[in-house]
C-alpha cells in the first residue's frame, strides 16, 4: 500500500448544522427512479387507453346529442351508446381502481422493506445525514410524486366519465365511481403509498410487505363506499315520490300513521309481498309510491344530493391526507426507534 493519506479533518463546529435536504434529492431519485419510471409507464399506458377510448365515446355522445328528431327510432339506436360503452367504462373503472393499490405496493412498500431485507439500512442509517431525516427525505418526495401523477390522471378520468354522467348514467356519488375522479383519487394513492411505506417498515421484507399493502389498501377502500361516505353529511329526508336528479339514494322506507311500516324495496327487497298486497297490479316503481300513498302510507327517502359531490370529495380527501400523514409519521417514528 502506498501512503495515500486523508486530508486533514476540518475543525468540528461546536454545533453541527443539519445537512441540507437537497442532498437527499439525488439519493432518492437514483434509488427509486426505476419505480418512478415504472409508474410513468403504467399510468401513461392507462392515460393512452382512457384518451383513445374516451375520444370514441365523446364522438358517439356528440352524435347522440345532435340527433334530430330526438325521439325517432334512428336516434334511439344511436342513443344506445351507453349500453355499447358500458364494458369499456367498467374496464376503465377497474384499471383506475387498481392503479393506487399497485403504486402503494410497488413504489411505497419497497422503500424501507428493501433496505431492511438486504441489510443496506446498516449503511444508510449510519451516514451523517441521520436516519429519520433520510427516511423523510425519501418518503415525502415519493409521496408527492405518486399523488401528482395520479392527480393528473384523475383529470383525464374526469373527462373520460363525463359523457356517461351527462347521459343519465347514474349519480356521480355512486361508490364505484366516486373515488376515481376529482381530488380523492390522488388522496387514495397517497394513502396507498403511506400504507406501503409503513408495511415495509413493519414487515421488513419486500414481497410480504407488498401483499400486505394490497390487502390493507383494498380493505380500507371498501369502507367509505359501504359505510362511511353516506354519513359525511346528514342525508336529506323527503316524502316526495321523486328525488332530485343524480341524487344518491341511501335508503327508503314507509310509515303509516307516524309509525314505521316497512323498508323500501330498494334496500331489502323482502317486502314485495306487502306491495303486492296493496298494489296487486304494481305499475313501474315511480308510481308505486303513489299507489301506496293512496293506502295511507308515506314514502320516506334519505338521499345525498349531487350538489354534495365536491364537499364529499374534500371531506374524503381531507381524512385520507390526514391518515397518510399519520402513517408516514408512524413509519418515521419506527425508523427512529427500531432496534437493529
Amino acid at each position: 500500500m502506498t501512503a495515500l493519506t486523508l486530508t486533514a479533518r476540518p475543525e468540528d463546529d461546536a454545533r453541527l448544522r443539519p445537512m441540507p435536504w437537497r442532498r437527499m434529492a439525488w439519493v432518492t431519485w437514483r434509488q427509486h427512479r426505476i419505480a418512478l419510471a415504472g409508474m410513468v409507464v403504467v399510468l401513461g399506458g392507462l392515460a393512452v387507453y382512457l384518451w383513445r377510448t374516451g375520444l370514441g365515446i365523446r364522438q358517439a355522445w356528440a352524435a347522440d346529442v345532435a340527433c334530430r328528431p330526438a325521439n325517432s327510432a334512428a336516434c334511439g339506436q344511436i342513443g344506445l351508446f351507453l349500453t355499447r360503452y358500458v364494458p369499456t367504462e367498467v374496464t376503465a373503472g377497474i384499471l383506475l381502481t387498481l392503479a393506487p393499490a399497485l403504486l402503494g405496493a410497488f413504489v411505497g412498500a419497497p422503500v424501507l422493506a428493501r433496505e431492511l431485507e438486504t441489510g443496506t439500512f446498516r449503511y444508510a442509517w449510519t451516514q451523517g445525514f441521520g436516519r429519520w431525516r433520510w427516511a423523510l427525505g425519501k418518503l415525502v418526495p415519493l409521496a408527492i410524486a405518486v399523488a401528482a401523477a395520479t392527480g393528473a390522471l384523475s383529470v383525464l378520468s374526469w373527462w373520460f366519465f363525463q359523457p356517461f354522467f351527462a347521459d343519465n348514467f347514474g349519480t356521480p356519488l355512486a361508490p364505484a365511481l366516486f373515488d376515481l375522479r376529482g381530488v380523492v383519487y390522488a388522496a387514495w394513492t397517497l394513502a396507498a403509498f403511506a400504507i406501503g411505506a409503513l408495511a415495509g417498515m413493519v414487515i421488513r421484507r419486500v414481497v410480504p410487505a407488498m401483499a400486505a399493502t394490497l390487502a390493507a389498501y383494498f380493505g380500507l377502500a371498501l369502507l367509505p363506499g359501504l359505510w362511511l361516505r353516506q354519513h359525511y353529511l346528514p342525508p336529506i329526508l323527503t316524502t316526495s315520490n321523486t328525488v332530485p336528479n343524480f341524487a344518491w339514494t341511501i335508503s327508503q322506507w314507509y310509515t303509516k300513521g307516524g309509525k314505521f311500516a316497512f323498508a323500501g324495496v330498494q334496500k331489502s327487497g323482502t317486502n314485495a309481498g306487502i306491495e303486492q298486497y296493496w298494489c296487486p297490479n304494481a305499475p313501474p316503481s315511480e308510481t308505486l309510491g303513489q299507489c301506496l300513498s293512496q293506502h295511507g302510507y308515506t314514502q320516506w327517502t334519505a338521499y345525498q344530493p349531487v350538489t354534495r359531490f365536491w364537499p364529499f370529495q374534500w371531506i374524503e380527501a381531507s381524512w385520507l391526507v390526514a391518515l397518510s400523514v399519520l402513517l408516514v409519521a408512524a413509519t418515521i417514528w419506527l425508523v427512529r426507534r427500531r432496534a437493529a
Binding site: 500500500m1 502506498t2 501512503a3 495515500l4 493519506t5 486523508l6 486530508t7 479533518r9 476540518p10 468540528d12 453541527l16 443539519p18 445537512m19 442532498r23 437527499m24 439525488w26 439519493v27 437514483r30 434509488q31 438486504t118 441489510g119 443496506t120 439500512f121 446498516r122 449503511y123 444508510a124 442509517w125 449510519t126 451516514q127 451523517g128 445525514f129 441521520g130 433520510w134 426507534r337 432496534a339 437493529a340
Partner: protein, 303 residues
C-alpha cells in the same frame, strides 16, 4: 478522550440479553479489537455504539461524550457492517456519489485514488465486484468520510488471506497516518496479534477482559511445571490451567518480576494464547479497577 464509553450498558432482544452490564472505555487513537465467540454480543455492542440499536439498560457515549446516534456521532463515525452491505445495483461511482451526498465530509479524491490503486473500476456495479473488492469499497467509502472513529464488524470474515491482508493494511495505514481510531470485531484471533493494541474480550453477553494489549501481555505469564503440583500454586490468580501429560501450563496474572516456584518456568504470553485462555474460562475476568476484578476459580482443562 474516550472514543467509546459505556456504563452498565445492556441490550435485550425479547427475553434474551445479548449484552449486559457492559462498562468499558476505549481510549482514542487505538486499534481496539473486540474478540469473542459467536453470540458473545460483539455485534450488539457495535450496533449500540454506532446508534443502530437503542440500549435496553445503561448508556453509551462516543467521541468524547456524544450520545451514540446523535448528529455529531453520526458525523464522526464511519461504520462498515458485517458482510459490507452495499447497494448492489449501483455502480462504484454512484456509491461514491451517494455517500458524498449523505455526509458532511467526503474526500472524493482520496476515494478515487484508492479505488484506482486497488484496481476497482468506477463503472462496475457494486454487486458484481468480488467479495474482497466489495469490502475494500465499503472501507474506502467509510474512510473517505474522514471519520474520527472507524467501526468494523467482522470485516475480514468473508475474505481470502490476500484480501484480508490488504484490507487490514488499509485500516492500519488510516490508523497510523491519519490518527483514525479503530474498533473492530473479529473471531480471527491470529489476525489481531499484528493489528490490535487494545483488547476487549467478550463472551455470553459480558465483557471479560479490557485493556491495552501491552499491559495485558505484561501482566500475564505462563508457568510450566510438574502437573502434580499445579494445584499448589496460589501466589497469583490463575486464569486457566492446561495439562499436557506430565506438565501443566498455568496462565497466571503475574509480571515477569513475580517469583516463580522452584521447578517451574515462567514464559511471556502471546495475545492469541491470552485470549484463548480467557475464552475457555468464561468465569475469569481482567477488568480495570480493583472493584471490578473478579477471579473465579478456574476449571481444569486436560489435553
Amino acid at each position: 478522550m474516550n472514543i467509546i464509553e459505556t456504563s452498565v450498558l445492556g441490550k435485550r432482544y425479547g427475553t434474551t440479553w445479548a449484552l449486559r452490564e457492559c462498562t468499558l472505555t476505549i481510549p482514542a487513537r487505538h486499534v481496539a479489537a473486540l474478540v469473542g465467540p459467536n453470540g458473545a454480543g460483539k455485534t450488539t455492542l457495535l450496533n449500540l455504539a454506532v446508534g443502530l440499536a437503542e440500549p435496553s439498560a445503561g448508556s453509551v457515549t462516543v467521541l468524547g461524550g456524544h450520545p451514540a446516534g446523535s448528529p455529531a456521532a453520526l458525523d464522526g463515525i464511519a461504520f462498515v457492517a458485517q458482510d459490507t452491505p452495499l447497494y448492489k445495483n449501483l455502480s462504484v461511482a454512484e456509491m461514491l456519489h451517494l455517500t458524498r451526498n449523505l455526509n458532511r465530509l467526503f474526500d472524493r479524491d482520496y476515494a478515487k485514488a484508492r479505488l484506482a490503486e486497488l484496481g476497482i473500476p468506477l463503472k462496475r456495479q457494486a454487486g458484481r465486484l468480488s467479495g474482497g473488492q466489495q469490502a475494500q469499497l465499503a472501507l474506502t467509502l467509510a474512510l473517505a468520510r474522514r471519520p474520527r472513529l472507524l467501526v468494523l464488524d467482522e470485516p475480514v470474515a468473508m475474505l481470502d488471506p490476500i484480501a484480508r491482508h490488504d484490507f487490514m493494511a488499509t485500516v492500519l495505514t488510516a490508523a497510523a497516518d491519519d490518527g483514525v481510531s479503530v474498533v473492530l470485531s473479529s473471531h480471527a484471533l491470529a489476525e489481531l496479534e499484528r493489528v490490535a493494541d487494545y483488547l476487549i474480550l467478550m463472551s455470553r453477553g459480558r465483557v471479560q477482559v479490557v485493556g491495552e494489549v501491552d499491559d495485558l501481555l505484561a501482566s500475564h505469564r505462563v508457568l510450566t511445571g510438574p502437573a502434580a503440583e499445579a494445584g499448589n500454586y496460589t501466589e497469583r490468580p490463575v486464569v486457566h490451567v492446561r495439562r499436557a501429560e506430565a506438565q501443566a501450563h498455568l496462565m497466571v496474572r503475574a509480571t515477569a518480576d513475580d517469583p516463580v516456584p522452584p521447578g517451574w518456568e515462567s514464559h511471556p504470553v502471546g495475545l492469541e494464547e491470552l485470549a484463548l485462555a480467557y475464552l475457555r474460562e468464561s468465569g475469569a475476568a481482567a477488568l480495570p479497577g480493583p472493584s471490578r476484578a473478579r477471579h473465579a476459580r478456574p476449571s481444569e482443562v486436560t489435553r
